[in-house]
């Protein structure tokens, strides 16, 4: 199932061929260069030194915030458009700054989490009783979430205490900042790095994706679905933070067929200071026909997740992709 790519040490998971890069893109972009440096660091810096590297990078946080001025501007613009009562410009700038710090920290966490003995420190885990109760029904649990920066760290920690969570991922996520070199050569390696971090995963490109998720649920396991990306053939357009967004309804097909519980999940912080909140199970009416089932339950799922995004916008990785 895995094949080696060159001598890089990164393995490309799954037999999913990559698309040809768009020829209208530049060969190399700034992001390609940063990616190259990042992946090189992941390969060449010994694991024991990575925490020090992470700290050093964190110390450069103010510089990064300053350097990422265009990104900060975009976040501030997005935030001011998304909130009915727009926060003050200082508050918006602060949120944008925290967003950039969280993004950097996540990338550093990924380097650390590649290793089996990576330590994740969870300061608070609430809602365990909801998870236990839902699991005891034996029909599986679907954790619904957004792309929280701390998702990967949280799932590693949950697995370490006996709650393995299967993640659903895109093998070839679109990236408007990526050049042709990045697409052809670096993105596969980055996906591979994430494979080492996440471990328990299924790709949307896999024709058996839904079957594998259903299998996990039928075996009474846990699956996490990110509701902020259109990873499904069945999409329902709904407003999220004031903007229309295509929400994957395939997840609701899985809920109806498996009879699993739906629990909202919020992950805050980073691998050093994690906070996980699992909400109570959402009410599910299995008697509804499929289309109505999807419409109705997606609405309740998105209401909960939207309120989380409003409360913690700086923790939401896709804030820049509204």
């Amino acid at each position: 199932m895995h094949r080696k790519v060159g001598v890089s040490g990164y393995e490309i998971p799954g037999p999913f061929p990559y698309q040809q890069p768009d020829s209208s893109r530049p060969w190399v972009t700034v992001k390609d260069v940063l990616w190259g440096v990042y992946l090189f660091a992941g390969l060449c810096v010994p694991g024991k030194l990575l925490p020090y590297l992470a700290r050093a990078v964190s110390a450069l946080d103010p510089v990064a915030r300053l350097a990422a001025k265009p990104l900060r501007k975009e976040i501030v613009k997005n935030l001011s458009l998304s909130f009915a009562a727009a926060p003050s410009s200082v508050a918006l700038e602060n949120t944008a700054g925290r967003f950039i710090s969280n993004a950097i920290r996540q990338k550093m966490d990924d380097l650390l989490l590649m290793y089996d003995d990576a330590k994740v420190r969870c300061l608070s885990f609430s809602g365990r009783e909801h998870l236990d109760s839902a699991l005891s029904a034996g029909k599986g649990v679907m954790l619904v979430s957004l792309h929280w920066f701390a998702n990967r760290a949280s799932n590693r920690w949950l697995a370490s205490i006996g709650y393995p969570v299967m993640s659903v991922r895109n093998h070839e996520p679109p990236d408007r900042f990526m050049g042709r070199v990045g697409h052809r050569s670096l993105q596969p390696r980055y996906v591979s790095l994430l494979h080492r971090v996440i471990r328990d995963e299924v790709y949307i490109q896999d024709r058996e994706c839904s079957l594998k998720i259903l299998q996990r649920l039928r075996k009474g396991g846990i699956v996490e679905i990110h509701m902020d990306v259109p990873y499904s053939r069945h999409l329902i357009t709904r407003s999220l933070l004031g903007r229309p967004r295509q929400i994957p309804a395939g997840s609701m097909h899985l809920v109806k067929i498996s009879g699993c519980a739906i629990l909202p999940k919020l992950a805050l912080g980073n691998a050093d200071s994690l906070e996980i909140r699992i909400g109570p199970p959402l009410a599910v009416d299995f008697a509804l026909p499929m289309e109505a089932f999807c419409e109705s339950h997606l609405a309740s799922v998105m209401d909960v997740l939207e309120s989380m995004a409003i409360e913690y916008p700086d923790q939401w990785e896709l804030l820049t992709k509204l």
Partner: protein
């Protein structure tokens, strides 16, 4: 009296045609054993097919059987369902 495998195969074809919304006659004798040669099934289509089969035959597939190869093999599916029906599902 246990249901004959050919009847089961015909019902599977019916579910297949219905769940994938195909313009085909499920009673067509030349319906191939490899269902993917009739129509490609993406991830969601397979799911709909599985749900349709479980509904039609009032059974739940063993999760260990879940695989695209199994669900596209008419003979394997018919055999499995016939066995489950004999065992009282």
């Amino acid at each position: 009296m246990p249901e004959e495998t050919p009847d089961i195969a015909r019902r599977i074809c019916l579910v297949f045609v219905r769940s994938l919304d195909l313009n085909l006659d499920p009673d067509d004798q030349s319906f191939p054993a490899d269902l993917t040669s009739v129509a490609g099934m993406d991830s969601l289509a397979v799911l709909e097919f599985v749900a349709g089969l479980e509904d039609e035959f009032k059974l739940q597939f063993d999760p260990d059987m879940f695989g695209i190869e199994f669900f596209s093999d008419l003979n394997a599916l018919s055999g499995y369902i016939a066995e489950r029906i004999q065992q009282g599902r």
